[in-house]
């Protein structure tokens, strides 16, 4: 044990004298800190936005309730805030919250026409994506590991020190093992320290922190062992680095992109625009159709309202909402197909998403998002709302 401590101490001191490693570790620490800082800032802004919207929503609704006393007008002029609040861990994995809407202000009609709106505030930023902690771990950390370990042996061989080092060292582990452990731990520290600070600020549970630490540890170990194993096999540092980077490109880009293409090719999904168009056409047609036709279609799916659909005037809110709902019903099949396709894509992406695939994970997250977001605004949810009951 004392021998291990002695070897680790020696290699730690040795590493502190290697400027290029220190610069690399410092850059890693800065980039990781930036990702955590920007994540916390973004999450904080989202929380503030939600709080602001909740206040505004309450005010709007109070105003509408004060202004209109009939249920139809009240429903028409009232908006309902729908949002997905960031979790405690969102600072580390912002995902597609900058691309897909996480807040919606909806009216209780033409729902299918409102779901597929996007509130991306900066299209260019959304395209580039966020440099969040997950991106750094999944995409950048393998590169940093490759940079740290590719020349572990080759540098010593090319400098003519390898044989002297090996013949002098009391064991292979005392030299290469200790050197690798020190570099690995230093990198792990630079990657995880900002995360631990962020997790403390965001009140993430200890269990979750331990789980994430373990996942990152295993992931980094895999890349480290691969890099060391390959570095032992080859002689020259450029050859080792280029082949390892090739493997990284394969896992980080080629497999995810091909996987994404294959999944999109095999699972056919209607476009959100098609659903909106179908719904809008059905609603527009509703104005021209005889009221009986609309009401019949509505009662088929909502028999509980059959006694509430008698009216004398040419204009009635009941009829208006009914043909809006029938519009949604017309698009329901497409909408369901969209959800089923998203779910299918999510399931198909099961095994490749275990890989370091930031691009493929977008697909998964979007499916998850649609699934989660959908529950806020599907008609079945609204059916339980108090406004619906007042109709």
């Amino acid at each position: 044990m004392s021998q291990l401590v002695s070897s680790i101490t020696r290699e730690w001191r040795f590493m502190l004298r290697q400027k290029y490693i220190l610069v690399l570790l410092l850059c890693t620490l800065i980039v990781t800190s930036f990702s955590i800082f920007s994540g916390i800032k973004e999450v904080s802004q989202q929380h503030q936005t939600i709080e602001r919207l909740k206040q505004a929503d309450l005010k709007d609704r109070s105003e509408a309730q004060a202004k209109y006393d009939d249920v139809g007008s009240l429903a028409y002029y009232s908006f309902h805030l729908s949002y997905s609040a960031p979790s405690n861990l969102a600072f580390a994995a912002l995902g597609e919250r900058d691309v897909y809407p996480w807040k919606h202000r909806i009216r209780m009609l033409a729902l299918e026409g409102q779901i597929y709106e996007s509130d991306a505030q900066n299209a260019e930023l959304a395209q580039a994506g966020k440099i969040d902690f997950v991106f750094i771990i999944s995409a950048l950390s393998p590169l940093i590991i490759i940079l740290l370990f590719h020349d572990l042996f080759a540098n010593e061989r090319n400098s003519g020190r390898h044989d002297l080092l090996v013949s002098t060292s009391i064991s292979s582990f005392s030299l290469w093992g200790a050197r690798s452990i020190v570099r690995f731990l230093a990198l792990y520290f630079c990657l995880m320290l900002p995360f631990y600070i962020g997790a403390t600020i965001s009140s993430v549970s200890v269990t979750m922190v331990v789980a994430i630490s373990a996942i990152v540890l295993v992931y980094m170990l895999l890349w480290t062992l691969l890099s060391i194993w390959w570095a032992q096999k080859q002689n020259t540092a450029p050859r080792i680095a280029s082949s390892l980077i090739g493997i990284w490109v394969l896992f980080a880009f080629i497999i995810p992109i091909l996987g994404d293409l294959a999944i999109n090719h095999s699972v056919h999904s209607p476009k959100g625009g098609d659903i909106v168009l179908t719904q809008r056409e059905a609603v527009n047609d509703g104005w021209d159709l005889p009221k009986e036709t609309t009401l019949k279609a509505f009662v088929e799916t909502h028999p509980q309202y059959k006694d509430n659909l008698q009216f004398k005037n040419t204009w009635a809110w009941n009829w208006y909402y009914a043909f809006q709902q029938v519009g949604d019903q017309t698009a329901a099949e497409l909408s369901q197909a969209y959800r089923d396709a998203s779910q299918r894509k999510y399931e198909l992406a099961g095994w490749p998403r275990q890989m370091p695939s930031p691009l493929l994970s977008m697909n998964n997250k979007s499916a998850t998002f649609t699934k989660r977001f959908g529950c806020f605004i599907t008609p079945s949810c609204l059916e339980t709302s108090s406004l619906k009951n007042r109709l």
Binding site: Q3, S6, R10, F14, G160, R161, D163, S167, T168, I170
Partner: protein, 244 residues
């Protein structure tokens, strides 16, 4: 050889080494006794460095055997390596460290602790100028790097020294000093196997010389009691064999 004991320290028996189907060493047989300075002499590609690396366990013999202190390397490589101080041909230590830092780092690898005073003594023994001790080695000449590596080998206090072209890069005065140092080590019981292509240098210092050509031992010369190996005789044999 000044030591009268005949304990075999390094032993190669019908040592054959093939790398990528190419024969590097062919049935090489020789031994080094305790307190002896043995020089393996040969031209480029004769297999000199490969022989050293085989004793260090970097090359695995295709056939035959090598023994260090009567033991096979297969059994206790780490232990036997700790008994051998190796001086590579181009002793490039870490350029971003000073000579002293390099020495402490390498000694730490071998789990050897030496005080600064002991390191200073070693530097003085190899005639490394004091002003250079704390300087980064990137400013060193080849000779100074060689001296630092020799100091490291001395500080390891190993019973066996494997020296690969040890005087390469040294000036004539430093070579004389080095030869005296090697003789001193042998007199204190250390065994030295050095490989070189310097006929004159080998004759100056060695107790025995093995002439190596294309991986085969083609001649062996011993120094007479209290005398040196005849340079002329070795040079003639070396030149004949090289031109053959």
């Amino acid at each position: 050889m000044t030591n009268s004991s005949t304990q075999t320290v390094l032993n190669a028996q019908s040592l054959t080494l093939k790398i990528n189907q190419q024969t590097i060493l062919n049935k090489l047989t020789f031994s080094v006794q305790k307190g002896e300075i043995y020089a393996l002499l040969g031209g480029n590609g004769a297999g000199k460095s490969s022989t050293l690396k085989t004793f260090l366990g970097f090359n695995k013999p295709t056939d035959g055997k090598v023994e260090v202190l009567g033991q096979s390397l297969d059994n206790s490589l780490a232990l036997l390596r700790s008994k051998m101080a190796y001086l590579p041909e181009s002793a490039t230590l870490y350029p971003h460290l000073s000579a002293r830092e390099n020495i402490h780092y390498f000694l730490s690898l071998a789990s050897i602790k030496k005080s600064d005073a002991e390191v200073n003594d070693a530097f003085k023994r190899v005639a490394l100028q004091e002003s250079a001790w704390e300087r980064h080695m990137q400013t060193y000449s080849k000779g100074m790097r060689q001296k630092t590596a020799i100091a490291l080998a001395l500080l390891r206090q190993a019973p066996i020294f494997l020296l690969d072209e040890p005087t390469s890069g040294l000036d004539p005065i430093a070579i004389d000093e080095f030869n005296l140092l090697v003789r001193e080590l042998a007199n204190s019981g250390a065994s030295i196997l050095m490989v070189t292509h310097d006929v004159y240098g080998a004759c100056q210092v060695a107790d025995r010389i093995g002439l190596l050509r294309s991986g085969e031992l083609v001649g062996e010369f011993s120094a007479p009691t209290n005398g040196r190996i005849d340079t002329e005789q070795v040079h003639t044999a070396f030149a004949q064999k090289e031109s053959a």
